[in-house]
């Protein structure tokens, strides 16, 4: 199977070698969990390690902010743009949808001229402003994702989770539409906040099922070991497995 490495070695291991080529991959998490950083890292590593030009399509954050944030990790996005290897495009879901569904649009033009192979869309949450109807929303997202695949792109699509700790209660069908689904979560353990990553789904491939810790370091996202001796990680407030055993059996 043709894999597209994110360049984050332990994440690629979790994904069985990387994302599958020409697939749409959702990264969901609360603000500050590193969705955009993961996306930028995927694009940067694609350019410098795999010679695969990339696009970042942003619906909210100004490109100026990406250049600044990328610089903090030592990734010179302006220089990559000058070399024609990257474009950070600011637009809106309505315009990008019309554009990519049309023949000879702006995005298609960039893909053809630059030989783009990777794209990050930050974030898909903004599609919800196009319609209140969940059926129509799923259809809009489905068409947009299919258009990215039609262009031969491997995409990372971010989605905001409205809750800081614990599981999101927001209903969305996008998880059904995408090929893989990564969750980033804050977890409280012994009065400290840590970050947890899980590959929830990966269509057409085996993947790691365990929940890993990760950090945002000066080099970007760094995936670490799995959480040991804890359960209920995704609830945001895990308990020690021994405590839950006592609670379940001994106290009774």
């Amino acid at each position: 199977m043709d894999r597209v490495k994110t360049g984050i070695s332990r994440l690629d291991e979790m994904l069985g070698g990387g994302l599958l080529r020409e697939t749409a991959n959702l990264v969901e998490g609360a603000p500050g969990t590193g969705k955009t950083t993961l996306g930028m890292q995927f694009i940067y590593n694609g350019i410098v390690q795999e010679n695969e030009p990339g696009l970042i399509i942003t619906f909210e954050e100004f490109p100026k902010q990406y250049y600044h944030d990328a610089n903090a990790f030592g990734w010179d996005f302006r220089e990559l743009e000058k070399k024609g290897l990257l474009k950070v495009i600011m637009t809106s879901p309505e315009v990008s949808r019309l554009d990519i569904e049309s023949v000879g649009g702006m995005i298609e033009g960039h893909i053809d001229r630059m030989g783009v192979r990777r794209v990050v869309v930050d974030s898909m949450s903004h599609f919800s402003r196009l319609t209140q109807d969940p059926v129509e929303l799923r259809s809009l997202e489905f068409n947009f994702i299919n258009a990215l695949k039609r262009e031969g792109l491997t995409s990372i699509l971010t989605r905001e989770s409205p809750v800081l700790l614990g599981e999101s209660t927001e209903d969305s069908d996008i998880g059904f539409v995408v090929d893989s689904y990564l969750i980033l979560r804050y977890v409280e353990i012994e009065s400290a906040i840590r970050k947890a990553l899980l590959v929830l789904k990966m269509r057409g491939s085996d993947h790691a099922k365990d929940i890993r810790q990760y950090e945002i370091t000066e080099q970007g996202i760094e995936v670490q070991s799995r959480f040991e001796g804890q359960e209920g990680i995704l609830s945001g407030s895990p308990r020690r497995m021994a405590d839950s055993f006592v609670e379940a059996f001994v106290k009774k």
Partner: protein
Amino acid sequence: MALASTNGDDYTARLMDDMDPVLLDFVKTKVNSFVKWDLVRFFHENPHTTDTVENIAKYAGRNVTAVEPELEELVESGIMQKSLLGDTAVFSLETDEVMHALVDKFILACEDRHFRVKAVYHIIRGMR
């Protein structure tokens, strides 16, 4: 007294015209309003932005009715381009290298306080 005032105005005008003639023309004929100045700065900082006038107005933190005619004038003067996606008009920075270089030159010049003072003078005079 009136003569002195006229001479003073002439002196000020000469002082304010003391800049690169290319930039002087740019300020007098292309970026001749504060909204246009904001828009040119925004598109310089975020060069691959493509969007509707409503969304661009939001990005610029201004009213649509204030932004729309200014964007149209920037299209007429060759700084911006306008295209249609179906029935939707979208605006983006002109891709012409010469125009990009001119915008870069203007933004760079704006880092100098004296240039900014002169540019503001010409914009206000143009608004009279």
